[in-house]
């Protein structure tokens, strides 16, 4: 059955053309993504192996049952191997994940009869691989993906809702930001096993020498005007380009860093990427006067040379030639090594409506082809245990995903150097818009942000973003609920 449906899609597309169907009838071409295979596998073997039109109608019918059929029942019937994909980047994440999986397989996994078999796929091409696997119905049982794509997979039924898998006490212990990120259309689809956050790293001594106030919480963040003066003060003090914004992260196929790192600018000004009341429009939101004003200020900084648009690594801040670095939690380690006690983290500036930071990171979901979601969940629950959380956050330097781990973390707990990240996450962080349109949003906004820093007209760039988001929504019928 697996095979017929997919070529069926292609053949049906051809058939539609040949038959010249009317434009608004024709619900008959079945989407490869909405592969009903998982459901039928749950329900029993090969029940929908009929002709295309029947299969096509089953998509909706199956869709509505997917959530129930593939949910957790709290039991793992027999020994099972969970196939998992994990993105492999640089650094020690992969080493640690390998160890954690080995520990799981040897410990709780062995007790439950669950073995996790992981495949590390290169970070740089991970999204493309996952998307094509989603398109062809070849996803593994468990996979992690960067936050932005969750809603797309959830909408397309590539993932199952996991509410039934997560015990209440575990759910209550998750940071609210983790729950917010994992929720789509009222159901929980994923759990992040670590959080993220933004801040400005600074050299305490440089700030003090220049009589610059050091904020300690998002509530007393620098105002945008104050920040403007600070940048100019530092430039006058001899720093050619005082602010590093990791411009170089933006290279490559996606500009996600620009969206993650700088949508807080417009959000802090009272604007947003899209109207979150119904996710049906971005016009007047992303290109609102507030957004334009905030980004014009940012553009001014770039124009006046206050922003470093030349660096291609982290050395300028580490070597002290650039005193401020606007970036995420992940550079705490290298920065701390370079600056020691002189390092301080302050919240992003307030552009009018309070300081805002990004949140969310890689998170794990259960694919709709997973036969034993309980087994997958057992693995995730292991990753969420205090011990594993602390192990991860102390090695990787990422904020933990659970409240108990955050409280007992040396770095992120009360009095820790990075306590501010947890503070932000519970008070002033904004999740990425929970819509399948997010990949389109980030592609568009990220490019616009880069263009703005390079001198493009802010209003027309943001108008274009609004327009492109609109186009994406229209192209997908505004992402109607399919369940």
């Amino acid at each position: 059955m697996k095979t017929t449906t997919r070529i069926g899609a292609l053949m049906t597309a051809i058939a539609i053309t040949a038959a010249g169907c009317g434009s608004d009838s024709a619900p008959s071409a079945e989407e490869p993504a909405a592969d009903p295979t998982p459901t039928t596998e749950q329900a029993g073997p090969d029940t929908t192996d009929d002709d295309e039109s029947v299969a096509a109608e089953d998509v909706t019918a199956d869709g509505s049952t997917t959530g129930d059929a593939a949910a957790c029942d709290g039991e793992i019937d027999e020994p099972v191997t969970v196939t998992a994909w994990n993105h492999a980047g640089q650094g020690n994440e992969q080493d640690l994940m390998t160890e954690q999986i080995a520990d799981f397989n040897a410990g709780p996994g062995a007790e439950l009869g669950v073995t996790v078999a992981v495949e590390f796929l290169p970070d740089g091409t991970y999204v493309e691989t996952v998307q094509s696997a989603a398109a062809t119905g070849d996803l593994p049982d468990a996979l992690d993906f960067d936050g932005p794509f969750l809603y797309n997979y959830a909408w397309a039924d590539n993932l199952i809702p996991i509410d039934s898998c997560v015990p209440d006490d575990v759910e209550r212990n998750l940071l609210p930001s983790i729950l917010a990120q994992g929720t789509y259309d009222g159901e929980l689809y994923s759990v992040g096993t670590f959080e993220s956050g933004l801040g400005i790293y600074a050299s305490r001594s440089v700030l003090e020498e220049n009589d610059i106030r050091i904020p300690t919480s998002p509530r007393d963040a620098w105002s945008a005007q104050e920040f403007d003066e600070i940048l100019r003060t530092l430039q006058a003090a001899g720093f050619e380009h005082p602010l590093d914004i990791k411009w170089y992260y933006g290279g490559g196929a996606t500009a996600e860093w620009y969206t993650y790192g700088f949508s807080p600018v417009i959000q802090s000004a009272g604007a947003d990427l899209i109207d979150r009341s119904d996710y049906r429009s971005a016009d007047g939101i992303v290109n609102s006067p507030e957004a334009v004003a905030a980004l014009e200020l940012f553009q001014q900084w770039a124009e006046d040379g206050l922003i470093d648009l030349e660096s291609t690594d982290d050395l300028p801040f580490q070597e002290g030639t650039v005193p401020l670095s606007w970036v995420g939690h992940w550079l705490y380690g290298p920065y701390e090594e370079a600056l020691g006690d002189d390092l301080v983290v302050v919240p992003l500036p307030d552009f009018g409506e309070g300081s805002v930071t990004g949140q969310g990171s890689w998170n794990w979901g259960i694919s709709s082809t997973a036969e034993e979601p309980d087994a997958v969940w057992a693995f995730y629950e292991f990753l969420l245990s205090d011990e594993q959380q602390l192990r991860w956050s102390s090695t990787i330097g990422a904020p933990p995903a659970t409240q108990s781990a955050a409280a007992s973390s040396e770095l992120f707990g009360p009095g820790g150097d990075l306590e501010i990240y947890i503070d932000q996450l519970s008070t002033s962080s904004v999740a990425r818009p929970q819509t399948p349109a997010y990949p389109a949003i980030t592609e568009s906004f990220g490019a616009a942000f880069a263009n703005i820093l390079l001198g493009a007209d802010v209003q027309s760039e943001l108008d274009r973003v609004a327009d492109e988001i609109e186009q994406d929504l229209v192209a997908n019928d505004f992402y109607p609920a399919t369940n």
Partner: protein, 314 residues
């Protein structure tokens, strides 16, 4: 995939087999079908078939990962693409790139070929060195060049020295310098390939012509202009045609080199990038397929035009 020179180009002309007639009138139908079968089957399955599928898909609103039903939308995708200013920017960039790269790369390749065609010591080594960039995988080459093109990189060191610091652009983020940067890297990688083709042609120019020119007291330039260039005319046309097609396939360099992909303010957005971003990024396979079809039509037309303008000498 990669826009390396191994990518095919339309080789010139389809000369009729001049001597075929002599072999007699009988048809080699059976043998021919045997010879053509393996290639024909594979081409049908993996090139023609998928391309027809792409044409069909271009008339639908098919999305890569989506629960929505696919619909027949007629020419809507084509209308949307033609109405999209980014597509025209991409075409303009492709044309700019071609206009820059084709002559520059051909001239450089010709210079290389002429230089190593002289009876000097070490020319085989030099020839090999000229060809080395060609055998460097483009994704790898782009990584190296990213390093060289940073504001403090090697390229600016050289430029800065030559121009006394007057010209040190931020290659990868400047709207005016990004395309030249892509051109530079493409030329670096492609020139060696064309050099070999031109070198082969140079060696085919009869040496008695040069001797005659020398006796007539022709200058180097006159010799080059009136003997060398006409002598390698066909090879030059071949090189120009191939390079033109490659120029329109430009993709790898623009993804890896400038910030962001597509370049500062779309300075290096190309048709290929537009197609891949539409298909994989926005998951609009129908629309991406329409871009592919338009691409095919445009490049086919341009190649035909080019061939009409520069016909080979017999």
């Amino acid at each position: 995939m990669t826009a390396t020179p191994i990518q095919p180009g339309i080789a010139p002309a389809q000369p009729t087999p001049r001597r075929a007639g002599r072999r007699g009138r009988r048809s080699d139908g059976r043998a021919a079908s045997g010879f053509l079968a393996p290639g024909g089957l594979l081409l049908g399955l993996f090139v023609v078939g998928p391309f027809i599928a792409a044409i069909v898909l271009s008339l639908t609103n098919w999305r890569l990962v989506s629960p929505l039903p696919t619909q027949w939308v007629g020419l809507e995708n084509y209308r949307a693409i033609i109405a999209d200013s980014q597509f025209w920017i991409a075409i303009r960039n492709n044309l700019t790139f071609a206009v820059l790269v084709v002559p520059l790369q051909t001239i450089l390749a010709l210079a290389m070929a002429v230089l190593v065609n002289r009876p000097v010591r070490g020319r085989v080594v030099i020839r090999t060195i000229y060809f080395l960039p060609v055998v460097t995988v483009m994704t790898a080459a782009a990584v190296i060049w990213r390093l060289l093109l940073t504001p403090d990189g090697a390229v600016n060191s050289v430029l800065g020295t030559i121009t006394f610091g007057a010209l040190e652009p931020n290659w990868l983020t400047s709207t005016t310098a990004a395309m030249p940067a892509v051109v530079l890297v493409s030329i670096w990688q492609g020139a060696g390939f064309q050099m070999v083709i031109l070198l082969a042609a140079l060696q085919g120019v009869p040496s008695d012509l040069y001797e005659a020119a020398s006796i007539d007291g022709a200058t180097r330039w006159q010799t080059f202009r009136h003997i060398t260039v006409p002598g390698i005319r066909n090879a030059l046309i071949f090189v120009v045609t191939v390079t033109t097609i490659l120029a329109f396939r430009l993709y790898d360099q623009v993804v890896v080199l400038p910030t962001p992909a597509g370049g500062p303010r779309d300075a290096t957005r190309t048709m290929m990038l537009e197609m891949v971003q539409t298909g994989f990024g926005r998951q609009l396979i129908g629309r991406a397929s329409a871009i592919a079809v338009l691409f095919f039509v445009i490049v086919l037309a341009l190649t035909a035009l080019q061939r009409a303008l520069f016909r080979e000498s017999p």
